[in-house]
Symmetry: C2
Subunit: 414 residues, 2 copies
């Protein structure tokens, strides 16, 4: 089946976008110069996971309103075509901003017209609620395909989750080196979904807090500490295939080569933290603030010394964040972190609404994220300075191969 054929099945409400896609794939003139900043859209795995982390994030979780499987599939096909165009620096729809005719609404909103691709990646995931309702009813004939690992996360100690900032049937993660490019992408996808889906919550982020490649320096989070020193790096193929990609025989076949995405909106209690001594901050984290070296060490990338004692107890405290999150204490567990700092203004009490939008990709959240977070939620010394206020989990299917593949084609295959 050709892409043309697939797009041709697009339902009402997305036809305008679909029609535009059919019209052609020529680059807009403005995008021509920036090919070097393009991340390929089709590959064995979705982009935006082990892609060296871009500087900016716009993440959106959607509720699905339609009860029609066909309408949902049609939207996913339209989204795929739009996403492929936008990640290559083109308009969401060919000539969408100005060329579709003066007496129809433009099919691209236009604010990215003169911008480069900015390494835009768009990554889709499906939440547990897309498969079954809260009472367990099948929604789109998908319940038999729900992976065991795609379970709602348990309530962790200290969780202060806002339901309006949690969950979602579908997630799209847009990452780019230019925020306007990421915002444009989410906006145009949301727009094409009008009547079928709506945005449940969204989050902007900046200053990636975890490097995902050895080519990147470790950035700092809003606690002022380097974050992601021990993160899995894209170049470590063994760790990536062990901890990130779902194996061929792990679970449902449609998820082989995919991953699971966990998001946590972690508000940092900036003001109490800022009034804490350097010594206490370093004890809580378990690393030196300046160099990022583990306490007792000199170099950022030294192994953690979890055994030795200093003058007043263990070099790295028993409740230190790096100890509890370490593979040494977690029976070898690792996850790929890809979070972003956020600052959403102030909270009405004059406090900065700021923190870390935590994003992790893992092969099985039940075996990786959940035990890690249970340990952290109970004992992490950092808990005094953070609050988890949003949470979600999504199944992220593998990448798209041929032109026939679309976002969810494995899941929705007959």
């Amino acid at each position: 089946m050709s892409r043309r054929g697939l797009i041709g099945t697009a339902g009402v409400g997305v036809l305008a976008a679909g029609a535009g896609v059919l019209a052609g794939r020529a680059s807009s003139p403005a995008a021509g110069a920036a090919d070097s900043a393009t991340v390929p859209f089709r590959a064995a795995h979705q982009a935006g996971i082990v892609t060296p982390a871009q500087d900016r994030l716009h993440f959106a979780a959607f509720d699905v309103h339609t009860e029609s499987r066909d309408e949902l599939v049609a939207l996913l096909k339209t989204w795929t075509a739009m996403a492929e165009r936008m990640t290559s620096g083109r308009e969401a729809v060919h000539d969408g901003a100005t060329g579709a005719g003066a007496y129809t609404p433009p099919t691209d909103t236009g604010e990215a017209l003169d911008l480069t691709p900015a390494r835009l990646t768009l990554t889709i995931g499906f939440g547990p609620s897309l498969f079954t309702t809260a009472t367990g009813a099948d929604r789109f004939g998908l319940s038999a395909r729900k992976p065991r690992s795609l379970a709602d996360l348990p309530k962790f100690t200290g969780d202060a989750l806002d339901p309006a900032r949690s969950g979602g049937d579908i997630a799209i993660q847009a990452c780019a080196d230019d925020p306007q490019v990421a915002v444009h992408a989410i906006r145009n996808l949301a727009r094409a979904g009008f009547g079928v889906v709506s945005v449940r919550w969204s989050q902007l982020g900046f200053g990636r807090t975890s490097s995902t490649s050895t080519s990147q320096a470790t950035p700092r989070n809003l606690l002022g500490f380097k974050d992601g020193t021990r993160n899995i790096k894209a170049e470590d193929h063994d760790a990536v295939s062990k901890f990130v990609w779902v194996g061929d025989n792990d679970d449902k076949a449609w998820m082989a080569g995919g991953s699971y995405l966990v998001t946590r909106r972690i508000r940092m209690l900036i003001e109490p933290w800022d009034r804490t001594t350097l010594h206490e901050q370093e004890r809580v984290i378990g690393r030196a603030k300046g160099s990022g070296a583990p306490l007792g060490g000199k170099d950022e990338f030294e192994e953690l010394d979890l055994q030795s004692s200093g003058p007043s107890g263990p070099l790295i405290d028993t409740d230190a964040h790096v100890r509890l999150a370490s593979r040494e204490e977690l029976g070898g567990i690792e996850i790929l972190r890809r979070g972003y700092n956020f600052t959403d203004g102030s909270d009405g009490f004059g406090h900065l609404d700021a923190g870390l939008f935590f994003i992790a990709y893992c092969r099985d959240p039940l075996a990786q994220f959940v035990p890690m977070q249970e340990k952290l939620a109970r004992n992490d010394a950092l808990n005094e300075y953070i609050k988890h206020v949003g949470s979600a989990v999504f199944a992220v299917p593998p990448g798209l191969g041929t032109d026939d593949d679309y976002w969810g084609s494995g899941l929705f295959a007959p």
Copy 2:
């Protein structure tokens, strides 16, 4: 009086920061390489006004809680020293993140440690409420120095202002090419003000919507249109001195060489706009969406043709935004715009909370911004798609000369 002496008068609550400033002015190692991306802090006018607009904004408005003039002046001196350091790419306080001693809170929060200056500018302004209370009472012995032009803005037709996002005694505009640098600056200034001031509201922005230099291409706002084509450019010295800088004999002497800052948080009703035809969008704005040319023209920088008619009325509609905002229709008035796009997630109804954080600098808001906005508020065709939800005005003093000058030294001079 030396800077050392001035800082020495810093009040309680900011002493930690003040002390750090005294310790020295050596560059942090991380900042060494990025001098080329530094905007000078001391000059005849404050930076951040005609400085070619940076890509990111963090704007904060503060309420002053102290009743002590000395305490306020001490904070302004401390802020000045911190701002001068940060704009040159250094920590807010010398060795503040890691060097102040393990058993005191760090005097710099650390998240900008490894980043470049990123052309950071910090611009201060004073609101009407700093001078007199709502009932007209003098607050800090400043009422005789309140300029006539620093008046609360009138209520404009259609205003839907949220008081919590309006006004403020003091404003600090942080602009930088890296959002983490701008956020770090505001956070550390807010922190140094603990007990004396608190953040009333703040706003992050990206993708500057108005170029302020002929060296910059015209960026697009979230309506998808080029914004700022006819903006005053820094290189047009005649226009800048006529419309931006307060003259020597305009009003109070302490404002000579300064400017007035008007902010308007303009929410865009993105979804209705996106459902509008291209023809209607271009009629509303008065320009072509693709090229930015005025309707009837071909080139972005062509003069507006406000006289000619097309097949169905004036080429540029009588209510078109560009017509009503044009100097031709406003008796020659111009303002310097320096706004930013914003996207603050969604609004709880699934709609994008996005728009334009409008920033204008002008020599006299009563003679420039007010008549312009009165005209726009009454008749602008764009009003159907926007809503003004926040508003503020501030007197922005001239730049600092010698080391004795501090933010507000002219205003608070005996």
